[in-house]
Symmetry: D2
């Protein structure tokens, strides 16, 4: 396979994360041609050049359109604010590039549907950046479920909590504006749903509730402004496989920093996982003598691929940024035509539709069938 030529748009947190992944993927995995970091686009030519040097890209541009149409480029990493995703992704796909776009697809469901249409038309790989599902622990969970280690899963609880909106005296900023979306629901909900999608498939029905912990927030020039988004969202769910559950999201949860707490209950055992301790998972199986049953804490190790590609010794720990390197390898695998552990636009639209259904449910106070929202029939 030839080396891929990479174009990167955006150098914020996720842009840097993509750059690190493209820099490291060959060294870590050793089974893929070293990508050529060909071109970087930023808001200005100056910034682009500075960042290109830091991040190791050969060329720089202040015009993202010239990047997505550049003939040399094979893959475009899109890491700009969510509102730009549709225009950039569609342009790149139409220019015949593979796309690696950060989640969520878009800020409005119709835009996401247009992105999916463009991807289908292009025949190129349309990948979404969903870091958490790349944790080797999540693959282990999937394997344990597939191997029937905990039997049929009948109940699922997922919590995702951070505290960056927890201080009521933090200044009002765009995340409290209605134009930014619903709030915790779209900010966090897509992550929870990406895990459900990866482990179990789709969500059948939802009953959502959204709450504002603080009615208003201070503005810089004095006074206070009414908060328009919901920092808390809690949803009852029924999965396609029949399991019941709950998704609880809170971005004003003091003390929680990157908690994604997953509890899976099956007919033969249970699995518990917390992203804040991303290198361990807890497994309970109802076998062996009752006097020694208990949740066991499994530390990630070379027995949990692709941890072994990073570190040959167990218990040493991967970091959050390593998950992007894993995702990068999966993307390359998909471009090569192989099966890959990856959320594409085809999967992503299911997640977006579920978010939309939850929002409608929260407004109406009634259960909503997710499928009823497919094909654009519902709003």
């Amino acid at each position: 396979m030839k080396s891929l030529n990479i174009g990167l748009i955006g150098t914020g947190y996720m842009g840097k994360c993509h750059a690190l992944a493209w820099n490291a993927v060959s060294a870590v995995f050793g089974d893929v041609p070293r990508p050529r970091l060909a071109m970087l686009a930023e808001a200005s030519q100056d910034l682009a050049e500075k960042k290109a040097h830091e991040l190791g890209f050969a060329r720089a541009t202040g015009d993202w359109r010239s990047l997505v149409t550049d003939p040399e480029i094979d893959v475009v990493s899109i890491t700009t604010p969510n509102a730009f995703h549709p225009e950039m992704a569609i342009a790149a796909l139409e220019a015949g590039k593979h796309v690696w776009c950060e989640k969520p697809m878009a800020t409005r469901l119709p835009d996401a549907e247009r992105m999916l249409a463009a991807a289908r038309a292009s025949g190129k790989v349309p990948a979404l950046g969903y870091n958490y599902i790349q944790n080797p622990i999540v693959r282990l969970i999937r394997r344990l479920i597939d191997e029937d280690r905990i039997g049929a899963v009948n109940h699922v609880r997922i919590e995702m909590d951070e505290d960056f909106m927890a201080d009521p005296e933090e200044l009002f900023y765009w995340k409290s504006e209605a134009t930014s979306g619903h709030g915790a629901l779209d900010d966090f909900g897509v992550h929870a749903l990406s895990l459900i999608w990866t482990l179990f498939g789709g969500v059948r029905r939802v009953c959502g509730h959204m709450a504002k912990p603080y009615a208003d927030r201070p503005v810089r020039d004095g006074g206070r402004r009414t908060v328009e988004t919901y920092d808390i969202a809690t949803t009852l769910i029924e999965l396609d496989n029949g399991a019941s559950g709950v998704i609880a999201l809170n971005r004003s949860a003091w003390g929680r920093k990157g908690r994604i707490f997953v509890q899976l209950f099956g007919s033969k055992g249970s699995i518990v996982y917390d992203q804040e301790r991303m290198n361990e998972v807890q497994l309970y199986t109802a076998d062996g003598g009752k006097e020694t049953q208990g949740f066991r804490t499994i530390l990630t190790s070379p027995h949990h691929p692709p941890y072994d590609k990073f570190i040959p010794a167990p218990g040493h720990g991967l970091g959050f940024n390593d998950l992007k390197i894993i995702e990068c390898r999966e993307l390359i695998r998909r471009i090569e035509g192989d099966a890959a552990h990856l959320i594409t636009f085809e999967d992503g639209i299911r997640i977006e539709r579920t978010v939309d259904a939850i929002a409608r449910s929260a407004r109406s106070g009634a259960w909503v069938d997710v499928a009823a929202g497919e094909g654009g029939q519902a709003v």
Copy 2:
């Protein structure tokens, strides 16, 4: 104050627990006259006499009615199966006895309402056995909230999980029959609601969902019988104080033994508690330097009354049975006319009405106002 004369009905788990409490309360607290363990009632005279010796009661009877009307008796402990509570409690109250009845009040809401009426008419103390709220940790949580250590609580999550119904091949027994109630909802829900009641007061609105992990269970003589109750119940809630939240209950949760996991999120901090580690609580407060903020694990100690009455050294640990001794002291305090940390029939009926509202909500698939169920106006 004179010694109270105690009558105990029932010697199962909770009967033994009451007996241990009456035996120990004076020795532990040292500020209350030693109760006289006067009379014990069981199903037969023989069993009653055997148990009276073991548990230290002076007299024994095979007829509970003779106990509740015995002139010597001051307080009646009722620890029989739930279905017997109304008849026994009403008889004891009508005979002018104080009552200490295990939760829940009754298996049907109208019976609970009749119990409340009898209690009001009697003027006696009508206490309910709700062990978990007696944990010194729960009092500490209440104190921390009252002292505004975590600010206004705006979101509450309570999970209660055990695994005694987790094995799908366990034989069908009465807990799977509809006559036993809804399932996890009444089995566990009252505990979760007792904590909410103790810490925050009432629940305003609920939206419940109940699920059966297993459609049927084997019966002894072969074949399988359809399960009629719901081992899982999950409920969105809004509290009277405006906080949102969720109550998640699962009695088929493999690996959970006595988990009651409480997460309280406030404007200045958070509190997390797990009954399986009943001697510790986690507190996060958003003060001090950000580089040292974190959930602190507080071990129970003499600084958390009435732990000090049991053990003068910190970190040594109370047990579940000790909570009953604490409740016993609170009951005596109430009988003495003092303020007490205790759930009475007046409080208990609020809990029962909330359970009823959740069950109606789960049936209808819509939100239900709890207050609408009061006084019989509701569906």
Copy 3:
């Protein structure tokens, strides 16, 4: 078997704990005649009478000698300060009573040897109060070792830490005086050694080190007084069974409240236990697939006798005081002539000799053979 008549000397923490145990043992276990709480001795007649009422004893005395010689008494609980143990225990044994004396045996090894001699001469049961070994978790550990679940144990680490001496500005009191003993070594070491004795047997060689975190402490009237005892003691050990290990003791360890942290490493697995979480133990076994090996957290349950006598449901938790009730039942078992899980004077002297060997080693800076101290040859 007839009911035993109990005499109790002392009503401090351990006196109360003994009283609670004697009050509860019949109710909890249901297989032993209810003991008669016959007589209580305290420093004065008034105090004795007050406490006798609280704790449920029939008679009271201000003279402990009259208690130990009272013909009615069968068993004497000795819970006075350590310095009184030898005189009281020897008097009780010589009067033909069974003795239940709190640890340690004495403050000086020769006194402990005299106690042992008196016990041997009496033919009565000479039990020592060593609460921690009574934890059902410790019995489970012993069972797991006996069943070869972790193979041959080759390395043992035990830490015991509390923080009651951690504040350097606490006033000087008797625990800092040389007359009170060595410091952490005898204060805590006997507990660590009781666990080793229970699980593995004797200690062969020791190399100890003692340290003073604070050179002096304030005295009430101003100024400071030199600290004479060692709040920290750390000892390398070799057990009779060939295992190596370390015992680390610190009574000035801020944040530790009742930590006894035990790590046992064997050829097939490991066990980890922390008394601050006394209702759980961690077990690692090197079997099954490597991808799911991990330390499992086992919660105490009815599968861990005699937890079942206290609570029929798993995961609800015993408390520290419950351990004394268990010990009480073991004592009665021994008095009945049955095998019992109990540390007697015969065992206790081995513990005291090991403490003595460690102290000598710390002074000399060299390894000391524990056996060399037996029979009085050493000093």
Copy 4:
């Protein structure tokens, strides 16, 4: 500052780790010229060329001597087996290169002393690879100590445990041969000592003990061979600052994967850290109300530099390999002439001498003064 030209010798685990660090350091930190990955040396030209492509190096050689003398090279990363360190490091230093050599310095103390002499003569930066001290948590610990948050540290316990030698039926291999060193002592001890050095400085006196959990191991062709090294080493220590402590090392500790458990006790608080949960640290401070004191779990965040260079959000987690990127930045800082958080040969020799003193102590069974070993004066 100009870009540094990098030469790498070795491409095993640590070689890959160095390569990843050199690839990422500019992208992560953004304040350093992107290093030029100039040349890679491996055992053969073919392997060197394959690895050079994977890891991003421009040139390749099968002869490490040509690398260390190549005029283009500024810095040489040495990641070969320990026995090669002295020859390579000395050659590189003599050729005027900066050196970044993995720990330990050498397998024999005199070789390490020669390396130090070469470094002093060269005037170049002689850095050692000691990953664990680069954890932002360790810097936070150092900062907390410096800010007197836990007062004067008077007791230190460090455990380092893994289980790669735990299976007695694993085939005999070179780690059980005496030529490989002492065993756990040098394998792990240098890590523990690097933490002590970083946090407190030197060790004054030691009293060591080494043990073999298994007397022999199977060999491939049948039969068993006697184990010559010690998989367990336990050492009593006194630090230069007067603190006492213990270092416990075990490479046959079933279930421990990368545990480095650090407990620091001070006059005002305590700190506890476990490398297996490398993104959190526990802090106890004896301030505030006693009812809310407890160990707080601090998750790494941008408030703990240089975590912020990797991830702008708290609680997301660094991995083991990220520590090397941090070390790489420190090395560049030192080459630039700035103060750096780095263990050089000057520091490393102190660690090696302490290991040597412990080994001598374990042989003699007596305490050994570490300083007595300096300059070869010692036993």
